[in-house]
């Protein structure tokens, strides 16, 4: 299955090699390939400036309106981000679950949204993912990234979820939407508290008029205070609480054959002995115009 004999590209276009990393590295050097193909020599995320970024943006994060959040662009090398958008699995490939949900008041809560996760299922199928996609998720579960998140958000110590419960890969097809909501706040298997959402968008060439911007709503659900376009190589980090209202409420206007793609990572802490009991499930909200 691996360590095939020859160097070079097999019929699938994938590098096969024999003899471990020295063989691969020597081969790479001999081909003087573009920088992206040297990626085995460094982590996918360049952490060199991130600690300083976290320290100087911690206050901005906490004071952000309507709830603590930050938007970071150019997270990955542009070539890697482009490649990620290309290899993101199509909704018909693999075990995507179509998510259609209604709110308590009978309104559309999720339309044409596909999840590649659903808890246990993710671990059964993650090996079928393109390695670049999976490795990015492993990277986002690494200590270095967790330390960055802790410095930025002030929330610690963070626990990651390798099962990607509710998270993992998401994509929404044309016409789809995600009603404004607060997230489930308790991990159903680990029984730990969900504290931070990290969303990474994989939408190369996303046009603003296609919509799908992540809307952040005020604590009183009266108005949308901010809309973040889901463009490629953009990361949104926000506190997950019982008042961090978010969603994308208008049916997507992207063309057939495209979709709104994202990677969703959730981070947890051990339950607090003090503080409110978090709600267990996603809480869908009525918009002011619907009341």
């Amino acid at each position: 299955m691996y360590f095939r004999v020859h160097f070079g590209l097999n019929k699938c276009g994938m590098v096969r090699f024999k003899g471990g990393c020295m063989g691969l590295r020597k081969w790479m050097r001999s081909k003087s390939r573009s920088s992206i193909e040297h990626w085995s020599d460094k982590p996918l995320i360049d952490y060199s400036g991130l600690e300083e970024f976290a320290l100087s943006n911690g206050v901005n994060y906490r004071r952000a309106d309507p709830f603590p959040h930050i938007v970071i662009d150019n997270v990955l090398d542009p070539q890697v981000a482009n490649r990620l958008a290309e290899v993101f699995p199509e909704p018909e490939a693999g075990p995507w679950s179509k998510r259609e949900a209604k709110s308590d008041t009978g309104k559309d809560a999720q339309v044409a949204k596909y999840d590649f996760s659903l808890g246990r299922k993710y671990t059964d199928y993650e090996m079928g993912l393109n390695p670049l996609v999976r490795n990015l998720m492993l990277e986002l579960n690494s200590n270095t990234f967790l330390v960055f998140l802790q410095k930025l958000t002030g929330i610690r110590p963070l626990i990651n979820d390798p099962r990607m419960w509710g998270g993992g890969l998401h994509q929404t097809l044309p016409g789809g939407l995600l009603r404004v909501h607060t997230d489930f706040l308790k991990h159903p298997i680990y029984n730990i508290d969900r504290r931070i959402n990290v969303l990474f968008f994989c939408n190369k060439g996303w046009e603003p008029e296609w919509g799908g911007g992540l809307e952040l709503w005020s604590k009183d659900m009266k108005d949308c205070r901010k809309t973040v376009d889901p463009v490629s190589n953009r990361m949104v980090i926000f506190d997950t609480t019982d008042s961090s209202y978010h969603g994308y409420t208008k049916p997507l206007a992207c063309p057939q054959g495209t979709s709104r793609k994202s990677i969703a990572m959730y981070y947890y802490t051990m339950p607090d002995s003090v503080g409110q009991a978090p709600n267990a499930v996603t809480a869908w909200q009525d918009l002011p115009s619907e009341l």
Binding site: G20, S40, G94, M164, M270
Partner: protein
């Protein structure tokens, strides 16, 4: 779904390389664990694990290929490199030496990307699910900070006294349940020693000795009575070290039958030490 499309979907799923290019194969460490091969054996491994003496454990040989061992060894941090943490001060209550000439790296940002990628793999959902199947312990939580774990190596003359591990993660307050040890010692002769010894819960006698040879993995349940160590001074040549990768897995809470107060590493007296 029409059967043909189902088949195509399945094929795509099982052959992720179909659309992948070289750039997507980021690290030679990503493919080291052969999930298919080990997956076929989990039933048998679990049967051995739960029934094993002196406490639940299993020894798996050729967990990774000799080529993979070479890949990891190439990237393994040198014992004398500055990234190594060394703690030779650990002592038993009676003032005896608990560990000696042992160094390790747990800060993944200081590790070679190949080893780092492999450790990330060992903390992946897929791998945790494999460890759960083998051990029967569900809902395992990884520790990305590798507290007490990461890469370990012991130099000639070094030792690790028989002990039971800390049972609560000091930062997360999670319960430590599983130790995963992988050995990377090529051409390791019996006479070099360094056997992992498993002792009974009364610490009266060593019940099992496991030679730390390359490609061998030991998985065992971490409780307050799973006493283990390599207490005999290493007898390997000066230019060799006993190398291993150690990963610990946690749950939020543990069965009442294993219930005990949170404690740091326990270093009991050995027979004859009174």
């Amino acid at each position: 779904m029409p059967f043909n499309r189902y088949l195509k979907t399945l094929t795509q799923l099982l052959n992720p390389c179909e659309k992948a290019k070289g750039v997507d194969r980021l690290s030679p460490a990503a493919d080291i664990v052969d999930y298919e091969k080990i997956g076929r054996q989990v039933g048998e491994l679990n049967r051995i694990y739960v029934n094993n003496e002196p406490f639940p454990h299993v020894v798996i040989d050729d967990f990774i290929t000799p080529q993979a061992v070479d890949t990891l060894l190439t990237a393994f941090p040198a014992a004398e490199s500055g990234v190594q943490k060394r703690d030779n001060t650990a002592q038993t209550d009676g003032g005896k030496r608990a560990q000696f000439r042992k160094v390790g790296v747990k800060d993944e940002s200081k590790l070679d990307p190949v080893i780092r990628q492999f450790l990330l793999e060992l903390n992946s959902g897929r791998f945790l699910s494999l460890v759960s199947q083998i051990s029967g312990v569900d809902a395992l939580i990884p520790d990305p900070s590798f507290r007490g774990g990461g890469t370990h190596q012991t130099l000639r003359g070094g030792l690790l006294r028989v002990h039971a591990d800390f049972n609560k993660h000091p930062v997360f307050q999670l319960d430590r349940r599983i130790n995963f040890l992988m050995y990377l010692n090529k051409d390791w002769d019996d006479s070099y020693g360094g056997n992992l010894e498993l002792w009974d819960e009364g610490v009266t006698a060593c019940q099992k000795r496991i030679l730390p040879i390359a490609g061998r993995v030991v998985i065992f349940s971490t409780t307050s009575t799973s006493f283990h160590g390599h207490p005999e001074p290493l007898n390997c040549p000066e230019d060799m070290t006993r190398k291993s990768i150690a990963m610990y897995y946690y749950t939020n809470g543990r069965p009442e039958s294993e219930g005990s107060e949170a404690h740091a590493t326990l270093w009991p007296n050995m027979p004859g030490e009174g």
